[in-house]
C-alpha cells in the first residue's frame, strides 16, 4: 500500500471514515485536492513570497527606489555581493566591502605635450564615454556589516487614504541595511537607483494594475454573462454578437489607440495608471463573459435549481444561495489564470512606451529599459526584473493550473 502510494508520489489522503472529509465544504475540498499537486504548491509558495515582498516592498527594500534615494556615488554600479567569510575570517553576520569609484587617471601633462600614446590611453580608459561601465575599487580590508531592522527613509506600510479611509500606517524600519552607505544587491542604474528595490516596488505596482484590470473585467463580464445567460433568447443573441465583435478586434491596436488617447489628456502618473488598468480590463471581458454565460445556462437547468424553486425560493434567493456559489470557485480560478495575461498586457504596453513610463516603477517599465543595448552590454544586472517577471508569471500559471484541476470538487462525484 505504502509502496503504491510512493509510486504515485502522493501522501496518504483523507480516509473515507474520517468525519472531516464528510463535513468538508467546497473550500476545504479544493484545498485538499490542490495540495496533492506538488508543482502547484511550490508555485503557490513562490507566488505568495513574491506578492508579499511586493506588497511590503518598502520594508524589504534597503534603498529608497525613487530619485531621492539614488546613490550619486554608485551610478551604473555592479551588484554588491554579500559574504559570510573571506581571507580575514568567518563572520556570522553577513558583510560587504567598501566600494569606491575608480578615478580615471588623466595624465594632463602628457596630453598637453601631445603624446599620441597618452591620447590613446585616455580614450580607451572610458572617461569620455557615458555608456561604459563605471569602475569601482573594492576595498577588501574594509568590511561593512549588514544590519537588520534598520531605520531608513519613512514610508507608508499600509496606505488606504486613496480608498477614502483615514488609515495610513507610516514606518521607517527596513528589513535590512548596511552600515556606512547603502547596499545594492542587484546593482544600480544610470541614476544610481537601486535595482533590487525598484524591482520589489515594481511587483506591487504591476499586480495592483492587474487587480484593478481584473476587477473591471470581472464586473463587465459578470454583467454581460449574467444578463445574457439568465435572460437568454434575444437579449442573449444581441449581447453575444457584441461580445464576439469585441473579441475579433486584435488587442494591441486597441491598447495603442487608447494609450494615444490617454496621452492627449493631462493625467498624473497615478491616474494614467488606473486608466490603463480600466482599459485593459474593459476590453478583455469577452472570453470570461461568454464562459460565464455558458456556465449559468447549464447551471440554471440543474435539478437542484428547480428543487429550490419548488421549495418556494424566490428568484433572488435562487440566484444568491444556489447559482452564485456554484461559480465563485470558477471565477476565482479563471481570474488567477488570467493574471499573467493582464500583467503581460500591462508590460507590453509599458514596453511599447505607451503605458507607464519612467520614473514609475513597474515591471513593464523596467523591462522596457532592458531593451537598451547599453544595458545589455554594460549593465547586465538590470535584467534582474526580467528574472522576477518570469518567476512571477510562471508561478501564476502553475498555481492557476493546479487550481483549475482542483476547483470543481464535485465533477467526479458521480
Amino acid at each position: 500500500m505504502n509502496a503504491l502510494l510512493a509510486r504515485f508520489g502522493r501522501k496518504p489522503k483523507l480516509q473515507k471514515n474520517d468525519e472531516s472529509y464528510y463535513t468538508a465544504g467546497q473550500l476545504s475540498l479544493i484545498k485538499a485536492r490542490f495540495k496533492r499537486k506538488t508543482s502547484g504548491v511550490v508555485a503557490a509558495w513562490i507566488l505568495g513570497t513574491l506578492v508579499l515582498m511586493g506588497f511590503f516592498a518598502p520594508f524589504f527594500s534597503p534603498v529608497d527606489p525613487t530619485i531621492r534615494g539614488a546613490d550619486a556615488e554608485y551610478r551604473r554600479g555592479a551588484p554588491q555581493a554579500v559574504y559570510f567569510w573571506d581571507e580575514s575570517g568567518f563572520s556570522l553576520r553577513p558583510f560587504s566591502y567598501t566600494y569606491t569609484k575608480a578615478k580615471h587617471k588623466i595624465d594632463m601633462s602628457a596630453l598637453a605635450s601631445g603624446g599620441l600614446d597618452a591620447l590613446d590611453a585616455f580614450t580607451s580608459s572610458g572617461a569620455l564615454s557615458s555608456s561604459s561601465q563605471n569602475k569601482f575599487v573594492v576595498d577588501e580590508q574594509q568590511r561593512r556589516y549588514l544590519q537588520f531592522f534598520v531605520q531608513g527613509w519613512e514610508y507608508s506600510l499600509i496606505d488606504l487614504s486613496m480608498a477614502g479611509l483615514d488609515l495610513d500606517i507610516r514606518w521607517d524600519r527596513h528589513l535590512f541595511g548596511i552600515e556606512r552607505g547603502q547596499i545594492h544587491l542587484m546593482g544600480t542604474d544610470e541614476d544610481g537607483k537601486d535595482i533590487f528595490s525598484r524591482t520589489l516596488h515594481a511587483i506591487w505596482v504591476t499586480i495592483s494594475i492587474a487587480i484593478v484590470a481584473l476587477a473591471v473585467k470581472l464586473i463587465v463580464s459578470l454583467f454581460v454573462g449574467g444578463v445574457s445567460g439568465y435572460f437568454g433568447g434575444r437579449v442573449d443573441t444581441i449581447m453575444m454578437s457584441i461580445t464576439e465583435a469585441v473579441r475579433v478586434i486584435p488587442p494591441i491596436p486597441i491598447y495603442l489607440a487608447c494609450a494615444v488617447a490617454l496621452a492627449q489628456i493631462d493625467l498624473t502618473p497615478v491616474q494614467r495608471y488606473f486608466a490603463i488598468a480600466v482599459v485593459i480590463g474593459a476590453l478583455d471581458f469577452a472570453t470570461l463573459g461568454r464562459r460565464l454565460r455558458t456556465h449559468i445556462l447549464t447551471e440554471r437547468n440543474q435539478d437542484y435549481v428547480l428543487a429550490a424553486q419548488l421549495c418556494g425560493s424566490s428568484t433572488w434567493r435562487v440566484i444568491w444561495r444556489h447559482l452564485i456559489p456554484s461559480f465563485t470557485s470558477y471565477i476565482i480560478v479563471d481570474t488567477l489564470i488570467n493574471f499573467p495575461y493582464v500583467i503581460l498586457a500591462e508590460t507590453s504596453l509599458s514596453f511599447l512606451g505607451l503605458g507607464l513610463t519612467e520614473p514609475v516603477n513597474s515591471l513593464g517599465v523596467l523591462l522596457q529599459k532592458a531593451q537598451d543595448p547599453d544595458i545589455q552590454q554594460n549593465m547586465i544586472w538590470q535584467f534582474f526584473p526580467v528574472l522576477v517577471f518570469v518567476f512571477l508569471i510562471m508561478a501564476f500559471v502553475f498555481v492557476g493550473d493546479a487550481l483549475r484541476d482542483a476547483a470543481d470538487p464535485y465533477s467526479e462525484k458521480k
Partner: protein, 575 residues
C-alpha cells in the same frame, strides 16, 4: 476432444484484483475474482453499482479507466485461435487481438457509443476493414446483412443514417450489429437493456438469444436485473463489493440461492402473485385534473413555433392517502404530467385543483399559481439524487431550505427541530446533518431529497422516477420508506416510473400513459392481472420475470444447433 495444449475455456480470469486511486484513497473495486467462460456459454454477471462488474468487463478489453490499477497476481487468459494469450500483458497493436477480433462489447447507452457525426455505415465498414480485411463493398454488403439479421427494418436505408436518426431500440440493435461485425468469440454486454423501455428490452433480449444460437458465440452479460439474467444466462456469477458471493448455473443461483445477498436481489423482483388487495372504498380525491394539456415549443420562435404536445387532454382524480403509480415508456408525458401538478410545466389548457387545502388551490392555463402557496401542499422528489442536491450546502441546509425560503419557522432553533424531526423519520442520522452531500451514497441522498420534500409537511408528493437511479436493494429501502410515510402521515404520493416491478411492489392505484394519453387506470390487481387495453397487456408481458428453462449443457458445441428454445415456463417468485 479436449486437447491438453489448448485452453479449455475461452476466457479464464484468475485472482483478478483491481484498485482505484480516488479522492478518498485507494479503493478496492475487484477483489480476487475468478471467472471462466467456455465457448458458447452465456455468463450472467450480476451485481449492484459499485460491485465491480463493469470494471471487470472493461478490464477484459483493457479499457479500465486510468486510475484503475490491476494488482498482481491477476491473470486473464484468452483462448485466441487455440493459443493462450495473457490479456494483461498485451501492448499496443497486439491489443487488437482482444479488442474486436476476439471480444466485442455492447455498452449501456447506445447513443453515446456511436460517434454522433459519422454515419453508422462508415463506423461499421471501417471496423470490418481493419479486423477482417474486407474491401469497402464487401464490408458494406456484410454490414447490411448484419443490420437485417439484428432485425432492423429497411436495413439499407438505416445503414447510412446517423445514430440520432434511430430510435432507442434501433440504436441498440445497430450497436449489436457493430459488435458482431468482427465475428467475435466473446460478446461482452454491459447493461445493454438498462436504458431501454421494457417492451424494447424484451425485443433486444430475444434478439440476443437468437443471435447467440445462430452464431454460437459466448456472452458475458452484465446486469443488475435478475429477471433479465434468468432469461438469457446459462451460468450466473453474483458480485457484491468486488467479491464473488455466489456462482453456479442459472437454475441453481436463481432458484436455490445460497447467499443472503442473492436472496435480497431476488426479493426485489416483482411478486405478481402477491399483489395488494384493492381498498374497499376509494377515498375522496385530493387532487383533480381536468382536461389537462401540456405542450412545449419545439422549433422556431414566436408565433410560428411548432408545439409538441406532451400531455393531451387528461382528466384524472388522485385519491387521498394512496400511492398512485404512473407508468409509461419514455416520451409518454408522465414527467410532464407530474410537473404540471406542481406548477412546473407549461399548461396549455385545463386545470389542476387541490381539494382539502386551507385556501383554494386551483390553477391552469389562464390562472398562474403562486409557487409559495403550492410549495406547502405539494413537493417533488427527483430522479437523480446527485444533481438535485446542491453540493455546496450541508444536509441540514438542504433540508431546511423550504422552511427558510418560505420563512415558515420563527427561529433557527425551531428550524433545527423540524429538520431533526424529519431526518429521523427518513432514517437519516442526526450527526450526518453537518455533512455535505458528497459524503453520501445514492440511496442516502434520496433520503435527504425525501426529507427536504417532507419538511414543510405537504399533503402530496410527486416522486419522479425516484428510485430509477438506485440499486435494487436500495430501491427496496426507499420504497419501504415511502410506504411508511404513506401509512404514518397519510401522504398521497404520485409515483412516476417506467419500472413495472417497482410499481407492482409499491402502488395502490396505477395509471398507464402512452404518448400523452391516459390509456388505462385501475387498482394494481386490475392492471397487472387483468389488463384491458392491448398496450397495457404488451407492457405487462414484457416484464422480465424469473423463468426456469431446461438445463442445457452449457459450452457444448451441440448447443449451437439448438434451433428452438423451449417455451419459458413463467414462475412467480414467492419467498
Amino acid at each position: 476432444m479436449i486437447n491438453h495444449n489448448i485452453p479449455e475455456n475461452l476466457l479464464e480470469i484468475r485472482d483478478l484484483s483491481i484498485d482505484f486511486n480516488t479522492d478518498e484513497g485507494i479503493v478496492r473495486a475487484v477483489d480476487n475474482l475468478n471467472l471462466s467462460i467456455r465457448p458458447g456459454e452465456v455468463m450472467g454477471l450480476v451485481g449492484e453499482s459499485g460491485s465491480g462488474k463493469s470494471v471487470t468487463a472493461k478490464s477484459i478489453m483493457r479499457l479500465a479507466p486510468g486510475n484503475a490499477i490491476i494488482q498482481s497476481p491477476s491473470r486473464m487468459t484468452l483462448n485466441y485461435h487455440d493459443q493462450a494469450v495473457n490479456i494483461l500483458k498485451l501492448r499496443g497493436r497486439d491489443l487488437r487481438l482482444v479488442r474486436g477480433d476476439a471480444v466485442s462489447m455492447i455498452f449501456q447507452e447506445p447513443m453515446a457509443s456511436f460517434a454522433p457525426a459519422i454515419r453508422i455505415s462508415d463506423q461499421i465498414i471501417q471496423t470490418m476493414q481493419i479486423h477482417l480485411g474486407y474491401d469497402k463493398d464487401q464490408a458494406r454488403r456484410a454490414g447490411i446483412e448484419l443490420f437485417e439479421r439484428v432485425g432492423i427494418v429497411a436495413p439499407e436505408k438505416r445503414f447510412d443514417q446517423y445514430v440520432f436518426e434511430l430510435s432507442g431500440g434501433m440504436r441498440q440493435r445497430a450497436m449489436i450489429a457493430m459488435a458482431l461485425s468482427t465475428k467475435p468469440k466473446l460478446l461482452i454486454a454491459d447493461e445493454p437493456t438498462t436504458a431501454l423501455d421494457v417492451t424494447i428490452q424484451a425485443q433486444v433480449l430475444d434478439l440476443m438469444l437468437e443471435l447467440r444460437e445462430q452464431l454460437g458465440m459466448a456472452m458475458l452479460f452484465i446486469t443488475h436485473d435478475l429477471g433479465v439474467v434468468s432469461k438469457i444466462a446459462d451460468n450466473v456469477t453474483v458480485m457484491q463489493r468486488g467479491k464473488v458471493v455466489e456462482a453456479g448455473s442459472a437454475e441453481q443461483v436463481l432458484f436455490q440461492p445460497q447467499h443472503r445477498y442473492t436472496q435480497r436481489l431476488l426479493d426485489a423482483l416483482p411478486h405478481l402473485d402477491n399483489l395488494p388487495e384493492a381498498p374497499v372504498h376509494t377515498p375522496a380525491p385530493l387532487l383533480s385534473i381536468e382536461n389537462l394539456s401540456i405542450s412545449y415549443p419545439v422549433s422556431g420562435k414566436g408565433r410560428k413555433a411548432e408545439q409538441f404536445t406532451a400531455v393531451n387532454n387528461i382528466s384524472l382524480d388522485l385519491p387521498e392517502g394512496q400511492i398512485i403509480g404512473l407508468v409509461g415508456e419514455s416520451g409518454s408525458g408522465k414527467t410532464s404530467l407530474g410537473k404540471a401538478m406542481l406548477g412546473a410545466a407549461p399548461i396549455s389548457s385545463g386545470t389542476v385543483e387541490y381539494h382539502r387545502t386551507k385556501k383554494k388551490v386551483k390553477f391552469g392555463a389562464e390562472k398562474a399559481i403562486k409557487r409559495k402557496r403550492l410549495a406547502r401542499t405539494a413537493q417533488l422528489v427527483f430522479q437523480d439524487p446527485y444533481s438535485s442536491l446542491n453540493p455546496r450546502m450541508t444536509v441540514r441546509d438542504i433540508i431546511a431550505e423550504p422552511l427558510e425560503a418560505m420563512k415558515l419557522t420563527k427561529s433557527r432553533a425551531e428550524t433545527d427541530a423540524r429538520v431533526i424531526e424529519v431526518a429521523r423519520r427518513c432514517h437519516i442520522e442526526v450527526e450526518h446533518l453537518r455533512r455535505f452531500p458528497h459524503a453520501f451514497s445514492g440511496g442516502q441522498r434520496q433520503r435527504i431529497s425525501i426529507a427536504r420534500a417532507l419538511v414543510c409537511r405537504p399533503k402530496f408528493i410527486v416522486a419522479d422516477e425516484s428510485v430509477a437511479a438506485l440499486d435494487v436493494s436500495i430501491q427496496a429501502e426507499i420504497l419501504t420508506l415511502l410506504k411508511e410515510l404513506k401509512e404514518e402521515l397519510g401522504l398521497t404520493i404520485l409515483f412516476i416510473s417506467h419500472d413495472l416491478s417497482v410499481i407492482a411492489n409499491l402502488c395502490d392505484w396505477v395509471c398507464v400513459m402512452k404518448q400523452g394519453e391516459l390509456v388505462e387506470q385501475g387498482t394494481v390487481r386490475q392492471i397487472f392481472l387483468d389488463p384491458q387495453q392491448a398496450y397495457t397487456q404488451k407492457l405487462i408481458s414484457s416484464i422480465p420475470l424469473l423463468e426456469s428453462k431446461e438445463k442445457c449443457p452449457s459450452g457444448s458445441p451441440e448447443l449451437l444447433h439448438i434451433a428452438e428454445r423451449p417455451m419459458p415456463a413463467v414462475s412467480f417468485v414467492s419467498i
